[in-house]
């Protein structure tokens, strides 16, 4: 009996084929680089990251500032608020990027490889941190040019920057979770919008005691007010009280909730688009 040997017999190389797990933090590094490339190529978002802080700084100093504080020192009051406002805008694109990854096939490719696929999110969060620290830098430089005169020591500057970074991390984590929860990139954009209003209902632009009672209560107890008050105290020497503790506590709480909610969503959405 003769045996027919198929023309294309399996190559020995293919039989031994295996995909190696990337070593150490290679996957994280690759995804961080990917997300930074995304940010740099998103020209409109990049322009916004420079233009928005500049415009807001000028608007609040020269247009609203005179009415809000005729003494001309409003710029000293408003800088922390503008920093947080810009960080919110900058972080909101994280929801868009995450939703885009989750609704295209690319996430399934990563999930079917032997790597920690959640590292995709690490990449987006890291890129958001860099984008928003850059925007913070723009705010501070413009502020100094239009008459911002902080009284902070170098140590207070570092503490203020660390608090801003913690806030960026918290709001980015929240936007990333919103991106995971959203059914499409457009939906992610819409859901995220409401978060961007929170700074207006805080002590960012006017002292809380000038608000109607019910609104003052909300402004007093929402997370943004202690963050603003703590940054303001560090930069301008206003009374700190317990603002720092509340600020850090709120940020850590938000990060924890977003992380738990986000990882639940990330697992649940596997294979479903």
């Amino acid at each position: 009996m003769t045996t027919l040997i198929p023309a294309a017999s399996p190559a020995p190389a293919a039989a031994a084929a295996e995909r190696a797990r990337p070593s150490g933090l290679t996957a994280e590094a690759v995804f961080i680089r990917r997300s930074i490339t995304h940010s740099l190529r998103d020209t409109e978002a990049l322009l916004m990251a420079v233009i928005l802080p500049t415009m807001l700084m000028l608007l609040f100093t020269y247009v609203f500032g005179g009415a809000l504080d005729p003494s001309g020192d409003y710029v000293d009051y408003v800088v922390p608020g503008i920093i947080l406002l810009c960080a919110g805008f900058g972080a909101s694109s994280t929801a868009l990027y995450v939703a885009r990854d989750m609704t295209t096939g690319i996430i399934d490719r990563f999930r079917t490889m032997p790597l920690r696929s959640g590292a995709v999110l690490t990449g987006h969060v890291a890129a958001s941190m860099l984008r928003n620290l850059f925007a913070t830098g723009v705010v501070v430089v413009v502020a100094l040019l239009v008459g911002f005169r902080p009284t902070a020591t170098p140590l207070e500057w570092i503490a203020a920057l660390a608090l801003v970074a913690l806030y960026i991390l918290a709001i980015t984590a929240l936007f990333a979770a919103i991106g995971l929860a959203a059914s499409s990139p457009d939906a992610a954009n819409a859901y995220g919008f409401i978060l961007l209003f929170l700074p207006y209902l805080s002590s960012a632009f006017v002292p809380v005691d000038t608000l109607p009672d019910w609104l003052a209560w909300f402004a007093e107890h929402q997370p943004i007010t202690p963050v603003i008050e703590a940054i303001r105290s560090l930069l301008m020497g206003t009374p700190m009280g317990d603002a720092a503790w509340w600020a850090v506590g709120w940020c850590v709480l938000v990060i924890a909730v977003a992380a738990v909610w986000g990882s639940w969503l990330f697992r649940r959405k596997a294979g479903r688009r």
């Binding site: 293919a14 084929a17 295996e18 190529r41 295209t104 690319i106 032997p114």
Partner: protein, 307 residues
């Protein structure tokens, strides 16, 4: 022969919908296997389960000899997936996409770069390598997608409807590449809605219906189940009035024409007769025809075709 995929009794339910209900699959190592079925038959769910994306509610499976549930990372290191929507990064360039995937597959940056040049050349994307994928045509995206699945040689390659939405030229180009991959020794598991695709590529075809494998075999075995050409009676506006399968013989053809007379359908004003090859619809309807279904055009096919 070794089995590249050995799945038994796979079941999956999404809310109240039973998507897979006791699916059994055996795919020989080194073969090309096509899972055929209409939209919503559970093809993608099958791929999602076999590629570790979704856990089955019941059943067991080994992929490339590794237990799917016990060692998903072991399976992941031996497979690659090209999903239904192109899994490429549109913001990055073609080259950046391949380098990224190579790095994530454990290659060092120098060998990742060399591998990228090699693959882009092979998939005829060298000229577009520096362009963002967002500017690519549908065919180029699919080629890149497939290239990404091949950055490291894996034992089993899953392709979920690899040519859906492509023009004829791109489709044939992709078929050529898939054939090459199979010839190099990998097992290819693909899903498709097109009989022709399964016909051209697959060593074995399985028809998925109602969450189970309704029939499997080689392309010719399956077509033998429906018979030969199909005689169609078309109305004045090309609407199908009747479809009659034949067994491919002159006698069978004559019998079909007689049947048309008997149905008195040919007396419709302006009607004409056409003969065509059996389509996936014919195979699928013949295999899945249920006796309790209400009569319609399709019921003519199953009964006559299998006699």
């Amino acid at each position: 022969m070794d089995l590249a995929i050995d799945a038994r009794g796979i079941a999956k339910r999404f809310r109240s919908v039973e998507v897979l209900d006791g699916l059994d699959l055996a795919v020989d190592a080194g073969s090309v296997f096509a899972l055929l079925g209409p939209n919503g038959a559970g093809k993608t769910t099958t791929i999602n389960i076999l590629t570790t994306l979704v856990r089955p509610d019941a059943g067991t499976a080994t992929v490339a000899g590794v237990d799917l549930l016990a060692d998903p990372d072991g399976v992941r290191s031996r497979i690659s997936l090209t999903g239904q929507s192109a899994a490429v990064d549109e913001v990055l360039t073609g080259r950046e996409n391949v380098v990224m995937l190579a790095r994530l597959s454990g290659l060092g940056s120098r060998s990742a770069s060399a591998r990228a040049d090699e693959l882009l050349e092979r998939f005829d994307l060298a000229d577009a390598a520096g362009r963002r994928v967002g500017t690519y045509s549908g065919g180029m995206r699919r080629r890149l997608d497939l290239a990404l699945s091949l950055v490291v040689p894996t034992r089993v390659i899953f392709l979920d409807e690899p040519t859906t939405g492509l023009d004829t030229r791109s489709r044939q180009e992709l078929w050529r590449i898939i054939r090459e991959v199979a010839d190099a020794g990998a097992t290819v598991f693909l899903t498709t809605q097109y009989l022709e695709e399964a016909d051209r590529l697959a060593d074995r075809i399985a028809v998925l219906d109602g969450g189970r494998i309704a029939a499997q075999g080689t392309a010719s075995e399956l077509k033998a189940q429906v018979g030969g050409d199909v005689v169609e009676l078309l109305g004045p506006d090309d609407e199908v009035l009747a479809e009659l399968p034949t067994d491919g013989t002159v006698h069978g053809l004559r019998a079909a024409v007689d049947e048309l007379d008997r149905l008195a359908a040919s007396s419709v004003e302006g009607a004409r007769v056409a003969i065509r090859r059996p389509s996936l619809d014919d195979v699928f309807l013949a295999i899945t025809a249920r006796p309790d279904e209400p009569a319609r055009d399709a019921d003519l096919i199953g009964t006559k075709g299998r006699s």
